[in-house]
Subunit: 315 residues, 2 copies
């Protein structure tokens, strides 16, 4: 009987699932909205029910489910313990154990969603199978994940891969969501890019920029698009973003020196325009050797989570 | 027959050796000067000869040598290849393979000396057996090593653990030895501390400080000692050193989140005075969680290398 695995990416608004062959070929992909009512107690039963239904209706029991991997928002301890899953209203859970019970004992593994996405991108995305990779996800915040020897590095306390909260900027005055000041996330997230652009517009009141007319509607995409199109102020904002990303990548290179650095998240849609800028600063801060990890763009988009999740049980 | 391992720490001026029981108990320690003549071709034969002699004369063949670990200056590729060992005048060597041949096929493993010291400190020093640890060695330069799952992380290109060349200071104008600008080593090494102190003295010409009278003889130890004794300018220099060390440790925490950070090297003799300052900044830049790795002082001093080296073959 054909063996399959399922990857689940649990988000605050939607849950994505993918059914895979052991080599990573995807056979079916589906999703449904997250029911976060009653302290998120419906989330895991809903996932179990959806998996059971799909196994019966689509595959009529003709495949063998060897395991389910699940990526969840919030820190996951090396033991699988989730103290708080804010968006799901979870508290003090062992989601893998609970989902396994709901599925009659099927093997279930859990990981932090950003870390799991890193595993997905390293395995079947921009990382092209790299056993050692780091993903930096530039979205509303900046997340990421560290993959070593083909596995997620969670760290002793579940803090590994929290690259968005690396301190990069002295002199920053506003606090980051984490409570510290000068985090990468404050500059290189979509939110950070908008903040940076607004600051510049306020500081340089007489300078012409296409960003000015956008007013409150200004988005990170506008900054990327206008920067690429030659708008001086927008381009300088993206230069600043690239500087701190290049610096962070350089630091990661001299800490764990992976094969590949993968830039993902909505901001990475800026593509080669951003990537080329990042490489300039990566080079500037990594003079110690030219022989070092490459920087590439993520390739799986929103599917990185289901790929990485299923990899947790495909080994 | 009792099994033993030997750890060798190869330096530019001296070679240290230690003979250990498998549990890390040291039975004998000795050293001899490094002969770097003729492109360092005597180094490995001298080590082999010294090992053979000790095994015969001291132990009269009553112990079984299960392996030799060797720490060497310069980057070591994951394959054991050493492209350049500057202080030894080595070029394009496989030191482990060569030493093994010289010792009649005994198992030999090689690592970069700073990485090997990290393994020693994690195993039997300040790390107290931690499987996941980072050592920052504050000596003439700043070196270090990353230990994960009880093993040295070399990285894909041998750059892992090069924590001295992490970019920490924007606005620095002088270049580091590595060619980049603003590296941790430029501030937190013994050389960096002296440089920082001299800069301050030049900038604040009218300010009183015990450092001023020392003139060209000023050392990092003077800065530590005077700072601890309440000299304002010296204390501010050490505050700057601690800030960038705290920042680096915070960054390592949010990258790989080890159990423990170990501060070693000559500068670490500043002890609690330095450690307490570092912790303030580590805390400031790591607001994301209070549950995180501890920062401690190294304990093995110059013996870290032989402990770590032998651990390479004791598994």
């Amino acid at each position: 009987m054909e063996k399959v695995g399922i990857g689940v990416d649990v988000g605050g608004t939607g849950i994505k699932l993918g059914l895979f062959q052991p080599d990573g070929t995807i056979l079916k992909k589906w999703e449904f909205p997250t029911d976060t009512s009653e302290n998120g107690t419906h989330v895991l039963p809903d996932i179990a029910e959806s998996i059971r239904k799909t196994m019966e209706e689509t595959f009529q029991g003709k495949v063998e489910l060897i395991g389910v991997g699940i990526g969840v928002p919030g820190p996951v301890q090396p033991t699988g313990y989730v103290e708080v899953g804010v968006n799901l209203h979870w508290r003090e859970m062992y989601p893998a154990r609970e989902l396994s019970d709901l599925l009659g004992g099927v093997r279930v593994e859990v990981g932090n969603d950003a870390n799991v996405a890193a595993l997905g991108e390293a395995w079947r995305g921009g990382g092209e199978g790299a056993a050692n990779a780091v993903l930096l996800t530039l979205g509303t915040g900046v997340g990421g994940g560290v993959i070593m020897n083909g596995e997620i590095v969670t760290g002793k306390h579940g803090l590994a891969g929290e690259v968005g909260h690396i301190h990069v900027r002295d002199g920053e005055t506003e606090p980051c969501n984490c409570g510290a000041v000068g985090c990468l996330e404050q500059i290189a997230s979509a939110t950070g890019i908008v903040r940076e652009a607004r600051r510049r517009l306020a500081q340089e009141k007489t300078r012409d920029s296409g960003l000015r007319a956008l007013g409150d509607k200004l988005t990170a995409k506008d900054v990327c698009d206008l920067g690429r199109a030659g708008d001086g102020l927008a381009d300088e904002v993206m230069e600043t973003v690239a500087k701190y990303l290049g610096e962070t990548i350089s630091m990661l290179c001299m800490t764990i020196d992976p094969e590949i650095f993968i830039i993902g998240g909505g901001v990475s849609r800026a593509g080669a325009y951003l990537l080329d800028k990042i490489k300039v600063y990566y080079d500037r801060y990594t003079k110690i050797s030219q022989n070092r990890g490459r920087v590439v763009l993520a390739e799986l988009g929103n599917d990185a989570g289901i790929y990485g999740a299923v990899k947790l049980v495909l080994g």
